[in-house]
Amino acid sequence: MRILLCCAAGMSTSLLVTKMEKAAEEQGVEAKIWAVSADVVRNHVDNADVLLVGPQVRYMLPQLKKLGQEKGIPVDMINTMHYGTCNGAEVLKFAKQLVTK
């Protein structure tokens, strides 16, 4: 599974990436997870199965959802509490749900 995360500068989401990678490893899930800034999402979205958006840039969600529709991948916002506490396992679960839906 390829999970793309995005926020304003791709910095705080990169924090979450390491936690999610750890969670994936523990669960034995093979996943490629990476974070980028909102302005370059376009260049990365083709390689992703799902796009997760940081809550602080949720104003871009409509725009990014449209992009997801074009590319045929699910796009959604990360739960704020999971985001704030860097809960890798929960966000990974969320990503899986989105992909299998």
């Binding site: 500068a9 910095m11 909102a38 602080q56 949720r58 871009m60 509490m81 704030g84």
Partner: protein, 437 residues
């Protein structure tokens, strides 16, 4: 209090969303980002040129000759001094992308249009002459930098709007069937390009017949000066910081949204300081530059939350706050505070929103007073990235002045005092919850 969060939820948030989602503002912000790596690289050379070590200048002059500084600053001329050129390209590129039209041509056309708006002449004072003369045949370096920034921004928007309109209306060259598709593709930008150039050309000729003389002068008078006053005043800066905090209180990236509007203004004032610093001026012109906010106000991230992180580590009684402190310390050192804003949380939490708004406003005022009275050196126009840890950041941003680092320390104490009572209340509440479980 719930009324307050209601207002945030139902009034502030949708409005902020609309503004932030506005494509021109987004293009502006994303396009300007293109200049940042270059400016940071230029800053490294700038710092090396003005290291505040006694005897440094003599040592450099003895080792590398009298011209050492000029030579060392070559890269500054090709980074800082062409920011308008790069920004114009970047903004046009990002805007075209948002319209789903070919961005590379849009960028190239915008650069060409920007240069067309710029008279190719520089003023030159010959040795022994009393009056400067205008010399043709030279691209004026000054207008390629921050002085040309607003013109570059406007031209990028104008030219890309024309470009995408023509392409979307499908007014393109139709070549005969036998022509390979790749060839006809290369002509797609031809008609929009021609129209953009024609429009800017007419504009320039019209303006040359007025007292302003050039588009750069008009934009400077009408846009640059009022915006400079707005961005350079204490009130303007307090309003900007207040808005950033208010947006973050709703959980939206305030700095990124407000930065779309204020970014170019602060970038221009940063560069004005850089020019003065480079020329060895005693007094730098601006207090409010990008670094004023990034380095001196947002210590630990928007809201100056580093003090809060330290409190969590040292004084928290609840497990939740202790753990959050440990999680947030590393990112906080680099001014990233999403764990705090979303994890504590501050977002939509009426109790914590109070200090979250007050603390940065307070240190805008202390920093302003410290810098405008000359107690602390002003930011020297060195583009220290916003992720620079405190103390080091203040030292570098002022061009290597200890006073910059001390001011950050002082501001840290101010924010500590403001956050502390609120933190205690929240922590106690969490502790009680935990004990009750």
């Amino acid at each position: 209090m719930s009324k307050f969060t209601d207002v945030l939820e139902n009034k502030v948030m949708p409005m902020a969303g609309r503004i932030a989602g506005q494509r021109h503002l987004q293009a502006l912000r994303d396009g300007l980002i293109l200049t940042m790596p270059l400016i940071i690289v230029g800053s490294i050379f700038l710092i090396l040129g003005f290291l505040p070590i006694p005897g440094y200048e003599e040592f450099m002059a003895n080792t590398y000759g009298d011209q050492w500084l000029t030579k060392l600053l070559y890269p500054v001329g090709a980074t800082f001094d062409i920011m308008a050129l790069i920004a114009g390209f970047g903004i046009a590129y990002r805007l075209a992308e948002k319209y789903n039209v070919e961005p590379l041509s849009a960028g190239a056309i915008s650069v060409s249009a920007f240069l067309l708006a710029t008279p190719f002449e520089v003023s030159f004072l010959a040795e022994g002459a009393t009056a400067a003369v205008m010399v043709g045949g030279a691209i004026p370096a000054a207008l390629m930098g921050s002085k040309g920034l607003f013109v570059a921004m406007l031209i990028a928007m104008l030219s890309t709007e024309i470009y995408r309109y023509i392409i979307q209306k499908n007014i393109v060259f139709k070549l005969p069937d036998g022509v390979p598709p790749a060839v006809s593709k290369s002509f797609v930008a031809l008609i929009p390009g021609a129209i953009v150039i024609f429009v800017v050309w007419i504009l320039r000729i019209l303006v040359e017949n007025t007292d302003f003389g050039s588009l750069h002068n008009i934009v400077g008078e009408i846009l640059g000066k009022p915006l400079g006053v707005l961005g350079g005043s204490l009130i303007g800066s307090l309003v900007a910081v207040f808005l950033v905090q208010l947006l973050w209180s709703c959980g939206l990236h305030g700095a990124s949204i407000v930065g779309g509007v204020m970014g170019p203004i602060w970038l221009a004032s940063t560069d004005a300081n850089r020019l003065a610093f480079q020329e060895g001026a005693e007094a730098l012109p601006n207090v409010f530059t990008q670094q004023f906010f990034d380095i001196f106000v947002y210590i630990g991230g928007s809201g100056a939350t580093f003090a809060l992180v330290v409190m969590m580590l040292l004084r928290a009684r609840s497990q939740q706050m202790k753990q959050l402190g440990r999680l947030a310390f590393g990112p906080g050192l680099f001014n990233i505070n999403e764990p705090i804003t979303f994890g504590m949380p501050i977002v939509m939490n009426p109790l914590m929103i109070v200090p979250f708004i007050l603390a940065p406003l307070a240190i805008v005022i202390t920093t302003y007073i410290a810098m405008s009275t000359g107690l602390v050196a002003k930011p020297a126009g060195i583009a220290v990235p916003w992720t620079m840890p405190p103390i080091i950041g203040g030292y570098l941003a002022t061009g290597g002045k200890i006073s910059g680092a001390l001011l950050q320390l002082f501001n840290f104490c101010v924010t500590f005092a403001i956050y502390y009572p609120f933190f205690r209340m929240w922590d106690r509440q969490k502790y009680a919850e935990e004990q009750g479980k």
